[in-house]
Symmetry: C2
Subunit: 303 residues, 2 copies
């Protein structure tokens, strides 16, 4: 089993109430890849500029992450700057310098074409379909998107969604995409567009997954110190799909454990800037926190 | 086992995106009593005006709810009017006519003084302590409060909290009371004020309970049609404390099941205006939805 991920590899400049990080490694494919690599080999497709050095690349080294598909192009790497509110619940984008990412056209290396799982990061839905056209029959296609594409390219997005098995978006995006405020109704509408599994991320309020079997709700892990939420969603996706790929099952029980595994990985990621916490993380710590999630949510049935 | 509840019995005029209900039965003690009466006898203390008729009283009849403590005073019953936003997530109070409730001084009938549990609804913290002074050694004291008392009477409230075992408030109130944004830190601060069990209600995002054993998170039941959220918190409290009183245990596992029972009752209450859904509810329906909560949250541990 291996996962192909297509998305951004970027520099982030992030300010939270607790500090500031300048031009640190970020991007959806970065968080996703490191999280998923705890479970299965990852094939990364993205683009960086000539300013992306060995230091940044070092985050992927020594892990099961193949960088053949990480193109280097003359110019600067995508650079995003944002500032979080005091409660970390909202953020302002200060700048979005797309740089070499502006003309990104994912090229899938021959060695990647048989990846069994594909994660389409949040890029133009036309490019997302272009990726699918370059891979041979993946067993599972997962996808992320955002308000920009939902409002700007609704028809293209729907064409992509028709080819997607798992959609991972946040609650606001689910409401926007479906035109339904109620999440149960929104889920029904979205599952009708193609993705039989819908994972709705609600930040500090956890995750709700909708499948054929109904709804599964998992809380976020109650942390005393949330330092930087950047990348939590992509880290969740990496843990979720990585676990799923390794399990080689897609039954309801496995999907549920995958949600908890995604939540587990995300709960670590928010403890530090950039990928800092993921890079020191061990499988033992992951399994330990997974057990704490069980403790956090378990109750006995009525006697 | 019996529960003494002190709180408001009121008329509500409520407008939601789905309709309007004029001068229907409401008030914290009303929702609480009916919910708790599914589990144990309830002793109600409150005040109504001469306009509170047999029709309204009918909601309590045929249930194990003692109305000896429901005083009738010359004048009008407390009347609250509110309007919900399209998403039901916020509401504007249109009017608060306290009427006879303005001068409410809870008098505890002799027959109530040995109630084993006490629920202090959201009233002046000085009056809450006055209630405790009139009862003999209850086994468990639970309490609700709101922003009005947290900012207006902080010292009196703290004196009351020192005598409370279980505090049930929403997340905004927990943050305000503790001065901590982070809920884990807020819970530690509040538990230090007296209540060893803190139940934080987060509306559509469920409930987090903090105890000696740590945190327990339960989602709200994902309903397709939420009709009117009025009284959900008090209904939760009634289900929570009713279950706890009937169980005659206060260990962690029982507390957790009580949280789910509270969530179960609340999930029914929001399906209709006023107490309408609670009044047709059966114990069989309650137990069935409790089982659905288990299904909603259950996952297997790692192999």
């Amino acid at each position: 089993m291996s996962i192909l991920v297509v998305g951004s590899v970027a520099f982030d400049t992030v300010e939270t109430p607790f500090g500031k990080a300048e031009k640190v490694l970020g991007g959806s494919a970065s968080f996703f890849s490191v999280a998923a690599s705890f479970f299965v080999p990852v094939n990364l497709v993205g683009v960086v500029g000539t300013d992306f050095g060995d230091k940044e690349r070092g985050a992927f080294v020594g892990r099961d992450i193949d960088l053949t598909g990480l193109e280097t192009v003359e110019g600067k790497t995508f650079h995003w700057g944002g500032k979080y509110s005091f409660d970390l619940n909202s953020r302002d984008t200060l700048f979005t310098d797309l740089n070499v990412f502006a003309t990104f056209k994912p090229k899938i290396p021959a060695a990647y074409r048989q990846s069994q799982q594909v994660f389409l990061g949040n890029i133009d839905p036309v490019l997302q379909r272009g990726v699918l056209d370059q891979v041979e029959k993946p067993e599972l296609v997962a996808c992320d998107t955002m308000n920009f594409w939902i409002s700007g390219q609704p028809e293209e997005l729907k064409r992509t969604l028709a080819r997607v098995d798992v959609l991972l978006i946040n609650d606001a995006e689910a409401r926007q995409l479906s035109g339904e405020w109620n999440l149960v109704k929104a889920a029904r509408a979205i599952r009708g567009m193609g993705p039989k599994t819908l994972v709705v991320k609600k930040g500090e309020h956890g995750v709700v997954m909708f499948t054929e079997a109904g709804a599964f709700a998992a809380p976020a892990y109650p942390l005393e110190d949330v330092f930087d939420p950047t990348g939590a969603g992509d880290t969740f996706a990496g843990g979720f799909l990585g676990y799923l790929a390794a399990a080689q099952h897609r039954d309801e029980e496995t999907l549920r454990r995958a949600v908890v595994m995604g939540s587990t990985l995300a709960s670590f990621n928010v403890e530090a800037f950039s990928l800092d916490r993921l890079l020191t993380l061990t499988r033992k710590e992951i399994d330990e926190r997974f057990r704490l999630f069980k403790r956090l949510t378990h109750f006995e049935t009525l006697g």
